[in-house]
Symmetry: C2
Subunit: 196 residues, 2 copies
Amino acid sequence: MVAVEQHGALPVDLAKAYLLLNHGPVTLVSTAHGGRCNVMAAAWTMPLDFSPPKVAVVIDRQTLTRELIEASGEFVLNVPCRAIAGQVLAAGSRSGRDGDKFAALGLGALPGTLVGAPRVEGCVAWLECRVIPEQHNEQAYDLFVAEVVAAWADPRVFSEGRWHFADDRLRTIHYLAGGAFLASGEAFETPSGLGS
Amino acid sequence: MVAVEQHGALPVDLAKAYLLLNHGPVTLVSTAHGGRCNVMAAAWTMPLDFSPPKVAVVIDRQTLTRELIEASGEFVLNVPCRAIAGQVLAAGSRSGRDGDKFAALGLGALPGTLVGAPRVEGCVAWLECRVIPEQHNEQAYDLFVAEVVAAWADPRVFSEGRWHFADDRLRTIHYLAGGAFLASGEAFETPSGLGS
């Protein structure tokens, strides 16, 4: 893979894209269609397959994000860090129907490389996704399945298939409730005795 | 709700059960059917609805766990803590077809209260689940949808709808890869300025 830098991000091998979500961080879902774009917070997302990589994400039917995903068939899952936790909370508590959230939150939008949806500046990883239509899941559970067609990460915290947090402001974050988060904490390996 | 203690665990209001998984911890999936029981690790799981609470979890078709879930329609999602990270790793790297993993890993099995699957001792939260049959998802994506029918937590780390980690050994954990985990880290609230 040619390591073409994209605004400081480096490409992640698609077979390793699941590692960007494996530890359960909160995400921002960014979308665009017909001249409108939006960003919302989503904690209910997970990897669904390794290769080709797929993800599952819950997108409430009342959101503008849902409307833009249904119109475009595309979105980006952005993995934010502690430095922008305030914007993540705000992205989850106001609607894009009330005005451009990128502008309101002071979030930059970088162009997607393979999808029309933008990538959110200030995040530390990005998964560009194309929806695999699954009408029953979407209608019954607000559940979307998508294939990851491109993945990017900030090499300061993710490289060679591994997260490595040194700067606390660049740690990924996990949403609790009521405006509270947990930072991704201490990395450790388990005693080898049981890992047969 | 009557706070009937179950081996040190207290019941969690079903409407708040999603909070046990909202921050993306790794889980253990425990199962039982026809005199056999098993436990495996699952990082690919997420809440799917609030009330009644539902979860989504990926269960590979080659596992004994899959066989026991398909036969019983039930499982428990157990949320382990750092103290048993070695067992979590081992539970994810050997098959129950090679022998009783509870015994091999030294994990205790507590009876489920509303499902036949056991709860794993030493975990800090437990979601007792009944599968909502979704044949297409199961076949196409190894994806199971289930309703949470009972939820429990260790009050030392979760009470009144809130995680509160003091003892590092009781922190929930997030799986990276290759035997490495992240502990759930520092709790923080965001600046209120943006959270309109």
